[in-house]
Symmetry: C2
Amino acid sequence: MHVKRVRVVEGVFDANDTIAGANRADFDRAGVAVVNFMSAPGAGKTALLEAALARLEQDADAPRVGVLEGDVQGSLDADRLARFHDVPVAQIDTGDGFGGACHLDANMVRSALPLLPLEEIDLLVIENVGNLVCPAEFRVGEDTRVMVCSVTEGEDKPLKYPLMFRACDLVLVNKVDLLPHLELDVDRLMASIQAVHPGVTVLRTSARTGEGIEAWCAWLRAAARPAPAGVATA
Amino acid sequence: MHVKRVRVVEGVFDANDTIAGANRADFDRAGVAVVNFMSAPGAGKTALLEAALARLEQDADAPRVGVLEGDVQGSLDADRLARFHDVPVAQIDTGDGFGGACHLDANMVRSALPLLPLEEIDLLVIENVGNLVCPAEFRVGEDTRVMVCSVTEGEDKPLKYPLMFRACDLVLVNKVDLLPHLELDVDRLMASIQAVHPGVTVLRTSARTGEGIEAWCAWLRAAARPAPAGVATA
């Protein structure tokens, strides 16, 4: 008799991946592409999302976007997005622990899925907790990962937090409007990003001046496009 | 017969606190005051430490400082401090896990103590991993906690990461030289800090212009002063 074997699920990462797979299946059933959106605190994720949503809402054929906001405490970012009336927004607070969880995991995202009308959106952006370490360690069922690196953080961040830069499909080098006022060597930052993740797509952005927002929206449109049948997206 | 009871140590935080107590005892024996120095990635901890060390090395009666550098990977910050020939520097890399630990804990600090000549210093500054969540949850045996909040991170960080702001004895509001180029409402930031941690000491600093560095050094001098006998410092 043929024996069916199953690998025993071990540890926190395996459990997380199992739940991420369940999320992934739900997203696929609903035809939703998912972006895991990560950065250090204050790098400008919400501002870049606001800029993209403001641009996309001008186009009749833009993907329908939903947002899941992850924060340790409060709903400041979700409140900022409330002005986009066609964008459903759900909030996860990770603060139930002592100081709160420093990242989203697949189970937290799963608990928020009933709050989102998945059938009515094409693209879900999951704004993770501001942190350059742990969010990169926990898949939540996303198709793609985007990180924001503010030029105010210095040139050395790719070398100090390599997993985050290595795990993402797109790096937004943000707040470039401040470059004239910084002592940053932007070429060295770009070289560090490529050293840690050769070939990764990098866009220079500023939510304030609008630089790079068109390219960021184009990237989001492409991310929302359903993959051809038979091509794995995970 | 008198029964001596011991509370069973439970969980990761209790184990951490036990080891933090052992570190604390070692620091007390050596007469070393300890600062746990924390911030988000790129807020300017190392630059503020460099500015303070450059100022303090000009004074014959300055406290003798040692530094313990915590990073996920590499020794970039420790290398920056190597020019201070009288300052012993030790490095902890937390990167042995998958993406690395996002904070220092008491056991990591304990493992590094043999690398530091505690008998020859008065003040140990432990530069934690850049993260606004977990470092505040793990005591390492410190006397005081200092956090750096860069004005480039926005006004809302105290409300989004309250434990970090609440757990510290001093907040350095850094990179104030950039204020003219930001849309930040600095009064709102100051009010948010006081809302989360009423009465906490706040200094405005810029490693680039030198603003606040004298006050930051004065704070470090006071932190290094041994407490009067019988006064607990932990």
